[in-house]
């Protein structure tokens, strides 16, 4: 058993290109997914029974089926309804819908933990429902669930590896390609796995830094 990392690492431009696409998929799907989650959480708590049922059904379906099936359904299944998506669009859509379902439950838990008095105080200041939600209820709720949300965003980033199966050319696609070109499968996957590990650690740091400053921090 000999390892040959040099052959694999010589293909570094491909790793880099894949890395860029993985970063891009995550960077687009994360804000969209969190926004979708917040919207769904609001609907589950405030909308009428029919939209509430629709949102719960969406959340439960996406939380209880594998990501790969969601991806296949969007990419292979939708064209028979006349909706053809590019691999990248299908990947972003699947990641967004997946994150949205998990974020909905987490944000909802955060919102439900809001002390009643804060809403009453906001009402006594004559704020309307929209102002109360966006300025009083939502920011601290996001702050409460930020660690869980961060974990979920990282899981979605790692899950994007599966997008290689519909030929989205992200970093695990690069690994597949390099392994079939150089026959150094193990080494190629080791390199990419380590890149993912680095990405996961960095993404956690980034979100820990970003959250208090831009998402739920005090606005002046």
């Amino acid at each position: 058993m000999t390892m040959d990392f040099a052959t694999v690492l010589a293909q570094w431009p491909m790793f880099l290109k894949g890395l860029a696409l993985t970063a891009m998929l995550t960077a687009i799907a994360t804000p969209l997914g969190v926004a979708l989650g917040v919207a769904c959480a609001w609907m589950r708590l405030n909308a009428g029974p029919v939209p509430r049922f629709v949102v719960s059904a969406y959340v439960e379906v996406f939380r209880n089926t594998p990501f790969i099936i969601q991806l296949f359904f969007l990419f292979f299944g939708l064209p028979s309804l006349g909706l053809r998506l590019s691999p990248e669009t299908a990947s972003i859509l699947a990641m967004t819908l997946n994150l949205g379902a998990y974020a909905c439950e987490q944000v909802r838990a955060g919102i439900q933990a809001t002390p009643r008095g804060q809403i009453e105080a906001a009402q006594s200041l004559a704020m309307d429902r929209w102002q109360i939600f966006t300025r009083v209820v939502l920011p601290p709720s996001l702050g409460r669930v930020w660690p869980a949300l961060t974990g979920q965003i990282i899981l979605v980033m790692l899950g994007s590896a599966v997008c290689s199966q519909i030929s989205t050319e992200e970093i695990s696609y690069a690994a597949n390609l390099i392994s079939s070109r150089t026959f150094r499968s193990f080494e190629a996957y080791i390199v990419v796995t380590l890149i993912y590990l680095g990405l996961a650690i960095m993404l956690r740091q980034l979100l820990n830094w970003l959250g208090p400053r831009f998402v739920f921090g005090r606005r002046r």
Binding site: N64, F73, A161
Partner: protein, 216 residues
Amino acid sequence: MVEFSFWDIARHLLLALRWTVGLSLIAFACGSVLALALLVLRLSKLPGAIRAVACYVQVFQGTPLLMQLFLIYFGLAMLGVDTSPLLAASVCLTLYASAYLCDIWRGCVESVPKGQWEASASLALSFGEQLRHVILPQAMRLGVAPTAGFMVQIIKGTALTSVIGFVEVTKAGQLIANATFEPFLIYGCVALMYFALCFPLSLWSQRLERRLRPAS
């Protein structure tokens, strides 16, 4: 071109579903045993054990399951083991499950009040006796709900073993979709089967969690 009726499709998918269930049970059973061993190692306060276990958990939680599968599939072959997709999938999902379960159960053990450790130590119980008679019974009560929730993740994780050629329900769906050109129907059915497996577990987990909350 083979003609498939709806019942042919359903029958083939249901037959493949046995492998999804089987693999999930293998991963859960073996993963639990390994997770318990890792947890005991971590609690034993042996030098370096805490860091080693934390490292193990971080590696499996910080990398995609898909990459772990490929690594183990090709890694076992490099070590000269005659791998089958079933073996690679079982090993990989066992390791994956053990890392997550170890982390979940550690949280449960840590939420047992420290006084319980001290009280049992003052009764001259050994480390093993402390764990077995005092700590684990209390931690287990807390652990049931998140463990049930994680079983859902294991079942969903088995879907990825299709990429290394293990024929469970996702792979079967892919094969049938390629033969019948009806991906919408087939992936819909496959999704429904996963849902039928996972949703009751999710509900059960949520119910357990709700029941425990007032107690804590």
